[in-house]
Symmetry: C3
């Protein structure tokens, strides 16, 4: 088990088997030492999108549920990263960037607090190597009406 | 003619002469083996933005027209890539990532189906090398009121 | 003083001390010759978010104030770049890409004109090296209700 998975296990978390995209795209591409990950939505560890993670911040989704949704997105990014690296997360060197997309009503401005759910998970899992550049924006709607989507750019061992 | 252009021709498609941006930015930048392309809107092969590609998904724009708009964005990305590579698309190695921005009402969740118009075109043109990581989000409005904008990150021969 | 700071000084501008993020993310990450910068909001040189830079284009924020907000974002990107490079902006080689996020009502389509405030500043500061690929989209809401957020990807000396 990699240090990342050990840290997650200490938090009572494990990485799910990632779901394959159902369209003509792939969950990741590698170019040199860059790992480019597709946007991950807030599907839970049980493989389902919980009703509390559907809808909009400022609407039906509470800030706490939004932060949990962001955390699930981050877990899914790590699960995709593990698959991209043939199961070996010790090759994952650092998280360079997360892009956070929060489905929100036009008056909901506490977007960073929601996105912290993803950022906190990444640092909890990767330590300082998980500290990343970040862009967080509100959006009117996301695929499957999910509340949060996060994509990522990572550095991997050459 | 590159294999990409041959495949497009078999589909009855050709790459337009790309339009230059009218502001202080450029359609592409190259860094090492990375080709960074500006967001392309759904201008058609005739150089015009069709009325059916203006407005929002969930509003005046049908899912079918949205998917065609996304396809036009992908064609425009390839046209910009060809210009970036001095006309020689054989230097285009793979599509690493597409970012899909769909102008949508807050209740329109079939965003991936719209974006498939771009992804399908990229795979039709490039084969497996065109299979990319992808992030798709809804947005309230895009430049010129266009329905779809797509940007791209590609790998090129060193 | 680097040429960038000299050019800014000729425009009566200087780079502020960048504000540290208050969450588990960082303003920048470097990977090889890539500098990845977090989204910067339109905090002014006085460290405050002016009321005229809060709200939405198409609503309370005028296009002129929006363009100024975008300019402030670009200045903040350069300030973060300077910090990332240990104070030495001569190591900043080029601006590869800007991502522009404009808080806008669904009927406000003059997004490129607003984003030009950022692009023009980058070219004024960096010359041709500041000419970048760009993606501009509307968003319903941004952190702190700011009108504009811009993120950036730069190339640095190896």
């Amino acid at each position: 088990m990699s240090p990342i998975e050990t840290r997650l296990a200490e938090l009572g978390l494990s990485l799910p088997v990632p779901v394959a995209p159902v369209a003509n795209y792939v969950p990741y591409r590698i170019s040199g030492t860059l790992l480019v990950l597709s946007g991950q939505i807030c599907i839970g560890p049980d493989g389902a999108l919980a009703p509390r993670h559907k809808g909009k911040l400022g609407g039906a989704v509470s800030p706490e549920d939004g932060a949990e949704a962001a955390k699930f997105c981050a877990i899914n990014l790590l699960a995709q990263a593990r698959a991209a690296l043939g199961g070996d997360l010790t090759r994952l060197k650092s998280c360079l960037r997360l892009g956070g997309f929060i489905a929100a009503t036009p008056d909901f401005t506490a977007l960073p607090q929601v996105m912290n759910g993803a950022s906190d998970l990444m640092v909890a899992a990767m330590g300082d190597a998980g500290r990343h550049a970040r862009t967080t924006i509100g959006v009117p709607v996301l695929p499957l009406d999910c509340a949060v989507e996060v994509d990522g750019l990572f550095e991997i061992a050459g």
